[in-house]
């Protein structure tokens, strides 16, 4: 029962993220037809609204984040303005009132926020129909905005708000994280085959001194590569290649490069271990029917070693899902960096980081489950020991 509940919560979280990944249609805020009268034109562009909070000036784009009452001026120089808002959330007062600004008093109409939209519904779009009149000329202009839900103080409410409002950003981050981890692991795997081969290649008694020297150099180079990339933190490698060289001129490509070469160092050791774990008899059997070293490696040893190292390589993938977080230092907006960005937008650190922890958990858990499913299908679950083995 507990497990079922846990899975249900994870499922709902994933569902909300996916639903919110598709952005709501955004209303065009640009009016196409402009008035002929230059005075009205000026008024439309320069008119200011005032927030209920200390009468702060609201530029027109601030209407997109409406969370308090606000005031609409009824005059701009000698132009009279009247307003009409059709919305269940906002109401324009009948009477005008005077508010005191630093620059002087002005006459305004108050827009009252009747209620906040629920955090589940998200932002609510509204239109202000403003009629500008001068003499017997009048012009209707639309201002558009959104009433935003107010962030609840409670942890659960705050989390829900964060998830619903910034779901798209979480989703994009998670997608990039998965993409980086997956492609990094795959590229790293192929690099690792090269590195492991270079590290293990051995010369034999028939070869020339030059060839022996070359193979020795390859061994040394592969060892050095593994030592350096396993012995330094990925955050340092990322900074080194991006801030030091601006590799590929694109942080994303540079980040992918760093994940790949880092993973390659680890997988190379995994593959080397798997090769060494394979019974020596397999190699000898290859030699005994006349196969060469490279043929034995290619057709007998590598296929077995790679199959045996699949669980460990899967682990590398899971580790990469978490470790790509360090790529935030070079400005890649993967999951962790997206979260940092979100906390910068609404200052609810606890909720944002709790959510992102949960998302990472969902990613790693589902990956682990998927990998063990694959392993079972390939018949790689640990077999029961029988008395004869």
């Amino acid at each position: 029962m507990k497990i079922f509940l846990g899975k249900a919560v994870l499922f709902i979280a994933a569902f909300l993220i996916i639903v919110n990944a598709f952005p709501k249609s955004i209303i065009e805020s640009q009016e196409l037809n402009y008035p002929q009268n230059p005075e009205i034109q000026e008024a439309i562009e320069n008119i200011k609204f005032y927030s209920d909070f200390n009468f702060q000036t609201m530029n027109q784009d601030r209407l997109n984040r409406t969370i308090t009452d606000f005031y609409l001026p009824i005059k701009y120089e000698n132009i009279e303005i009247s307003y009409l808002i059709v919305s269940e959330y906002l109401e324009v007062s009948q009477d005008s009132q005077i508010i005191s600004l630093r620059t002087g008093d002005i006459e305004v109409k108050k827009v009252t926020l009747i209620k906040s939209p629920s955090i589940l519904r998200g932002n609510h779009a509204f239109t202000i129909n403003a009629t500008f009149s001068v003499g017997d000329e009048s012009f209707l202009y639309h201002y558009y905005g959104y009433v935003n839900p107010i962030i609840p103080d409670s942890f659960l409410g705050g989390s829900l708000y964060t998830l619903v409002t910034y779901g798209t950003m979480f989703f994009q981050g998670a997608l990039l994280t998965l993409l980086l981890a997956l492609s990094g692991t795959i590229i790293g795997f192929f690099l690792a085959l090269v590195v492991a081969t270079a590290k293990m290649i051995q010369s034999d008694e028939f070869e020339s001194t030059l060839k022996k020297l070359m193979k020795k150099t390859m061994n040394r180079a592969a060892s050095l590569y593994i030592t350096v990339f396993r012995g330094t933190p990925m955050i340092v490698q990322a900074s080194f290649f991006w801030y030091g060289f601006g590799l590929f001129g694109n942080p994303l490509l540079c980040g992918l490069f760093v994940v790949s070469i880092n993973t390659a160092a680890y997988i190379a050791e995994i593959i080397r271990g798997s090769i060494q774990a394979i019974d020596k008899g397999q190699t000898e059997a290859g030699y005994s029917v006349g196969l060469t070293y490279s043929q034995t490696m290619l057709f007998i040893i590598f296929p077995q070693a790679i199959k045996n190292s699949i669980p460990a390589i899967g682990n590398e993938f899971v580790i990469n899902i978490k470790d790509t977080a360090v790529l935030s230092v070079i400005g890649i907006f993967e999951l962790f960096n997206q979260t940092k960005k979100i906390t910068g937008m609404h200052y609810r650190q606890l909720e944002a980081y709790a959510i992102v922890a949960l998302i990472y958990l969902v990613l790693t858990l589902s990956t682990t489950n998927f990998l063990s499913f694959i392993e079972r299908r390939m018949g790689m679950q640990p077999k029961e020991l029988t008395s004869s083995s």
Binding site: F206, D279, G281, E284, A285, S288, V289, G290, I300
Partner: protein, 243 residues
């Protein structure tokens, strides 16, 4: 005609001397059994013949020539002298059929059709034709060893080396493998068999070699060795089996 000549062969691992000067001639078509205590150097001697172990000193000639000179010669030698191992060593990642056809395709450059046909014929020889598409882990020990024998036969070798072919088998399965080897013995292919199956050695071999502490202690016709051994050490060794 001597197919294999071994001259003053020494092999040591570090300070430990395993073979201390072996001289041996093996004629074409001969079936030779090597018996002796564990650690007496039987397997090492066998593995030196196809250079799975490099001799420390001495010479091994195949058809009068030393093949341990370069890759091409060594590879050629190993297609002429194949080996059957104690622990079967079938290629675990390949099916029975692919186990048999891999080397003929890659080393002898034969076509797929040709090798598949030959593989099925060879499997029929060891009575394993129904298992062509199975994988090694689906087979019993005896079946694996019969497939391994078929694999060794696929290269049309001049000599087959058997390294304790029944030591890793359940007692019930020893019989089927020995029967297969006996059938093979009738084809007059040269065979060198390291074994602990004394009655088998007695029945199948033309010559029995008793090895002790890295040297050939006594050799002769199976009847002589088993019924009338001359050396004290041989008598001691054989008396344990006759109990």
């Amino acid at each position: 005609m001597n197919i294999i000549e071994i001259k003053n062969l020494h092999k040591s691992y570090g300070l430990e001397k395993v073979l201390k000067g072996i001289d041996l001639l093996i004629t074409k078509g001969e079936i030779v059994s090597i018996i002796g205590q564990s650690g007496s150097g039987k397997s090492t001697l066998l593995r030196c013949i196809n250079f799975l172990e490099q001799p420390s000193s001495g010479e091994i000639l195949f058809e009068g020539k030393n093949h341990f000179t370069n890759h091409a010669n060594l590879q050629k030698l190993r297609t002429k002298i194949t080996m059957v191992f104690q622990s079967f060593n079938l290629f675990e990642n390949l099916s029975v059929l692919d186990n048999l056809t891999l080397a003929p395709k890659k080393v002898l450059k034969k076509t797929k059709v040709e090798t598949n046909k030959k593989a099925l014929e060879t499997l029929a020889l060891v009575n394993m034709q129904d298992f062509a598409n199975k994988y090694p882990k689906q087979l019993s020990g005896g079946q694996k060893q019969r497939v391994a024998i078929a694999r060794a036969l696929m290269m049309n070798p001049e000599v087959i080396l058997f390294d304790e072919p029944t030591s890793a088998l359940d007692p019930e399965m020893v019989g089927e493998v020995l029967e297969t080897i006996k059938d093979l013995a009738k084809t007059k292919i040269t065979m060198i068999i390291v074994t602990h199956e004394m009655s088998f050695a007695k029945e199948v071999s033309d010559r029995v070699i008793f090895m002790n502490e890295g040297v050939v202690h006594e050799q002769g016709k199976p009847m002589e060795i088993f019924t009338n051994p001359k050396e004290k050490r041989t008598i001691e060794f054989l008396s344990r089996f006759n109990k």
